[in-house]
């Protein structure tokens, strides 16, 4: 299958999504949430399941994850490294990461 045809098929599906659901279909298994969470997974294991002594971060309540990340960012919660990461994301991005990791 040539790339052009792949692209066309994709466009067809995109159009289909718009026609049927009024939104753009997200068909590939990659999303902004997955890409954001993949940055966490580097140190916290695949699916955020932990790699001792790196703690597991999968399955956390979304509000709890966002709360701890914001506490790291403000240094209210003491960390060696996490404050330097947590300060790099918007609330919306933190929520997306949390949503993805909750399902893992």
């Amino acid at each position: 299958m040539t790339l052009k045809r792949v692209a066309h098929t994709g466009l067809a599906a995109g159009l289909l999504g718009i026609l049927l659901f009024g939104g753009v279909a997200s068909a590939a298994d990659v999303s902004r949430s997955a890409l954001l969470a993949a940055q966490c997974e580097a140190c916290h294991g695949m699916g955020g399941k932990g790699a001792a002594p790196m703690p597991a971060i999968s399955g956390m309540e979304i509000a709890d994850m966002v709360d701890i990340m914001k506490a790291f960012a403000s240094k209210e919660e003491v960390s060696t490294m996490m404050y330097r990461h947590a300060q790099g994301y918007t609330d919306e991005e933190l929520k997306m990461m949390a949503e993805y990791l909750k399902g893992k």
């Binding site: 289909l16 990659v30 902004r32 060696t80």
Partner: protein, 432 residues
């Protein structure tokens, strides 16, 4: 897709009409747009291995082939601990079996040529292969001819800047050196792979000396006026080993005598531009660097010897459908670190998978996490988050471990523990 003709558009509408019937029958629309196609990844290090894994994870139907010349991979991260004698080479050597189990085809062969226009590679074994997308993560080559004799000393003054036999060569020289001897470390000019590496190496050799050869010393003969994590390293050295002339670690700045211009294996000396000479019992000469000659020969490098890429997808600026990751690419302001390469690889994989499913890629996001060990129980780090803005990678936030306040020993002990956790996690992600 910009050149799509009206005829094509009408045909697509027709196709949409036809498949909408399937949806009614309960087949999800997403099935129709799964990414498919063939991707070849060259180089099984931090960039390449991670890219292959994420291509398969996010595009399970993609045909992903990884080509790597060695059957097993020895990581540069943690190789300084091997040089310091606290770990064996086996402990930092990884097989590609996990990757094979995930459905990635792994070919152990050396890529000898890249036809970027045709997205085709030729292998030493005689085979040629082409793909819909070609990902190159070849690492570095040495820029020989920039320091006198730099191409003649790989055995007498091992660089140990590609982990494996070179790592053990340097380890053995340090092990057999008499107490009271001097090790010279000669770091390269910027830019180079692993900016804090030479300074971590000095630290872990000092750690070995403290336990085994306390009268021995390390002199870092630098060509640069400043170096990575300088504040944190120097504060830690002062505290743990002693820093300065006659102390266990001495750092000679590039401002002191100019850059290194000559090395002489017959007298075991290193010479700076203004004539200052340093003599060592062991010399770790790390040559100046450029992107791997493979991508240079393929015409993918710029005038400085590195590959310009679109920093959102890592597609080469000179070859469509060819992607360059990791140390070989220009990803400034990200450093040439293993972790940075993995983060780039994830963005590249997301871009390729999305393209092959006919969708737009998610907005990029990048991170770097880089631990250095001052001793096996004393870690420091740099971490940063990056975003894609105005056509390039921009740092959002980040910084280095604060320089050593004595009362906070636990902080640095924890950083050392987390360094080991980082290694475990990131190598699992690559090879698991």
């Amino acid at each position: 897709m910009q050149d799509m003709k009206r005829r094509d558009f009408m045909r697509l509408l027709g196709a949409t009409g036809a498949v909408s019937g399937l949806t009614v029958m309960g087949i999800p629309t997403s099935v129709l747009a799964k990414a498919s196609g063939k991707v070849i990844v060259v180089g099984g290090g931090f960039g390449g291995a991670t890219c292959a894994q994420y291509l398969k994870r996010w595009g399970p139907d993609l045909d992903v082939t990884l080509i790597e010349k060695d059957a097993k991979y020895v990581t540069c991260p943690f190789s300084n601990i091997v040089i310091g004698g606290e770990m064996s080479l086996d402990q930092i050597t990884h097989s590609y079996d996990g990757m094979k189990a995930r459905g990635i085809k792994v070919i152990t062969d050396e890529v000898t040529g890249v036809d970027a226009g045709a997205k085709k590679v030729s292998l030493k074994g005689g085979q040629t292969m082409s793909a819909d997308a070609l990902v190159l993560s070849p690492g570095i080559s040495f820029r020989y001819g920039t320091v006198e004799n730099d191409d003649k000393v790989a055995e007498s003054m091992p660089h140990a800047w590609k982990a494996g036999p070179q790592t053990m060569m340097l380890r053995k020289q340090i092990e057999s050196m008499k107490d009271g001897g001097v090790v010279l470390i000669v770091p390269p000019k910027n830019p180079f792979r692993c900016p804090p590496g030479p300074y971590e190496r000095a630290s872990l050799i000092a750690s070995y000396f403290t336990k085994n050869k306390p009268k021995s010393r390390i002199i870092i003969v630098d060509s640069k006026p400043k170096h990575s994590k300088q504040g944190a390293f120097h504060a830690a050295w002062k505290h743990v080993y002693g820093l300065g002339e006659g102390k266990m670690i001495q750092w000679v700045s590039g401002d002191d005598g100019g850059p290194v211009i000559k090395i002489d294996p017959s007298t075991m000396t290193v010479e700076k531009e203004f004539g200052d000479k340093y003599q060592g019992d062991v010399i770790n000469f790390i040559p100046n660097q450029k992107a791997n000659v493979l991508v240079e020969k393929a015409g993918l490098t710029n005038k400085d010897g590195w590959c310009d890429v679109h920093q959102n997808t890592f597609e080469s600026k000179v070859a469509k459908g060819v992607y360059v990751l990791g140390d070989a690419s220009v990803a400034t302001p990200m450093p040439k670190s293993g972790h940075a390469a993995t983060s780039q690889a994830k963005n590249c994989a997301a871009a390729i998978v999305s393209m092959m499913a006919g969708q737009s890629a998610p907005t990029p996001t990048y991170a770097n996490t880089c631990y250095s060990l001052v001793s096996p129980d004393f870690g420091i780090s740099v971490a940063a988050v990056y975003a894609f803005k105005d056509g390039g990678i921009k740092k959002v936030v980040g910084g280095v471990t604060p320089p050593h306040p004595k009362e906070k020993d636990r902080f640095y002990k924890n950083e050392a523990k987390y360094a080991k956790g980082w290694y475990k996690s990131i190598t699992m992600e690559m090879f698991g």
